[in-house]
Amino acid sequence: MKELERLLDRIVQRVNINLREHEYDVNPLVQKLIPFSQMTKFYAFYGITPHHPLNLQFRNSNLAGSYFLGKCSVTNSLLYKSDIRGDELKQKADVFKYQGYEIPVDEDEEIEIVDSFLIKTLVHNFSHDPETLEKFFIRDTIAMHYANIHGSPAEGSFLGPFSTVDLTTIRDSRVGTFSYIQAGEVSHLDIEPGTVWVRAPETFNFMYRFPLQRLNNYIYFTAGSSPQGIFIDFVEDRKEAFQRVFNVVNLEPSVQVPNSASLDRFAVIKPKTHISDNVLISQRAYLQNAWLGKGANAQEQSYIINSRLEGNDITAHGAKIIEADLGKDVFVGFNCFLRGRPESRLTIGKESVIMPHTIIDIRQSLSIPAGHLVWGLITDEKDLESNSLSLKEFSKIDTRFSKGNMVFEGNGAEFVTAFKERIHHILETNGAFFNGHSNKGHAQQNQKISFNTIQPYPQGEKEGLYPTIIIRP
């Protein structure tokens, strides 16, 4: 156990030295957050498929309850119940296109995690940094509960609970609780909680900042205690359901799954759930009385409860949809929390885009018209008016625009196009457009997957540490 403690101290020091200009000490935030006894309790596991390279290396690390797929290496790190999903990494001979450059990829890309502490964090996608094509690195970084590191190499940074860094190389920065950053490259920034920031330099810049007092009801994190609020209560209330899927070795799916769809064996499926063709349900997703139309998906840590998704709807990592009806082609971004009530449902019209990290929590029925962009914190019609705009109107912005707590600068049409293209790409990658023989994606390729488990030293100085393990074909 002593080795584990030394490892945590080492990581804390390395993060602190990178964040010294912000005078930010992560030590009180992370000490005793996860009891060391928990870190020895859970096995780690990895997937084997014919479609992804198998190349895993673990050194001097704890991997409790974490999952690995593809080419990943972990050194001097603590990974607690995190998903390191390397199924979208670049492969040797791929060509990476960036601002007119076409850069050949020399070798299979690797997720490389060094001197970092990740808690219930998802690492996915591939490095979008043209300067580091073959290494999707995470170094000297701490990521708190339910953070997403998506296509974002990270160094010397602290990511708060429910934060997301998306397609952005981040260095020496602090990302506050429930903040979403998609900005290409950031360094030496201190980003306060509840910041939603999407920037393409010279093209557009979008920012929404949550009213902090209201956000604190949903998620609040301070030194000396675990994250608190409605988000945490919500996932804790459903935690038990996951214990069964992780405890049982052979688990038969409880619903009918079409040949073109994929249901991960580490997802929770509760009764009356319906899965149509080309649907993808990832691990740690939770579905209860959910109707998923053709091509819809439920990504990691997402929850769909008493809801209907008509088809080609995206439920991005960590998104929650409760008592809602979604038309076709609705995008629900990372960590969104959309909660209707049984007697007052939420309806979202087709082709609407719910920005990442949007909270909709209503007590009276609310209907979002088709083709709208929605952001921020919405509890009633008035909030919806302040926090939405039709995509058509948004496309007309050519200088700057401000509404409520949102400010936008640049070209609205480019912003809308970028979102639409990305949504199309996500559906394509996930296999939503599979026609029986072509356009295969995760929904078709993730069907045949085996899982193996690995475990740490059970006692002694090295208790909780995993031995050096190299797994190759």
Binding site: L189, R199, N205, M207, S402, V407
Partner: protein, 186 residues
């Protein structure tokens, strides 16, 4: 052609608007008005008030900018909006969002009555090293000091004592006078 020195152009401190530390903004405004009435050498008006300590030493300056800043309502949200500059937003976008925010706020009718009770030291600007100039300095050097420091006035020293204020308006008037003189002789 006359060679001006700073002491030829400065306003003596005895003719300048001053208030002791601990004064309110209201008292500073009255001192400014009084000094203006008594000082009618030029048509340029005083635009600042000096704050003096118990030893009559200058410890700060309240320019029109500081007066206006004192009148601006203190609001955390306005300050929070200003922070978005670090995310690459332009001044126009910051102003746009501030305007959005202000429109939602009720009009604060007692903004002025509460502001005038504030203490001058909460808003005064403490003179920096580059804001002092010796009384025997040439006009040319003083001009350079005003330009490089982007100052509207300089505090004039005689040994360690502050004896006057060199205002940009007076320096401009002198420079203008020199130009006319040169033109007339050519």
């Amino acid at each position: 052609m006359k060679r001006y020195l700073v002491k030829d152009l400065m306003v003596p401190i005895s003719e300048y608007a001053t208030v002791p530390q601990g004064s309110t903004l209201s008292e500073a405004v009255i001192a400014l008005e009084k000094a203006q009435e008594e000082y009618n050498h030029t048509h340029y008006r005083h635009r600042a008030v000096l704050v003096l300590d118990n030893n009559k030493q200058v410890v700060g300056k309240l320019s029109q900018m500081e007066f206006l800043r004192a009148l601006e309502p203190q609001d955390e949200n306005i300050d929070r909006i200003k922070e978005i500059r670090k995310f690459g937003f332009s001044s126009k976008s910051i102003a746009l969002q501030q305007e959005q925010y202000r429109r939602k706020m009720p009009v604060n009718s007692d903004m002025y009555t509460s502001a005038i009770k504030l203490k001058v030291e909460d808003f005064m600007q403490t003179p920096s090293e580059g804001e002092y100039v010796n009384e025997n300095t040439s006009l040319e050097t003083a001009v350079h000091q005003l330009i490089t420091g982007r100052h509207l006035s300089l505090l004039v020293t005689q040994k360690k004592k502050i004896v006057g204020v060199l205002r940009m308006s007076d320096v401009f008037a002198a420079a203008f006078h020199v130009i006319k003189e040169v033109e007339a002789t050519e």
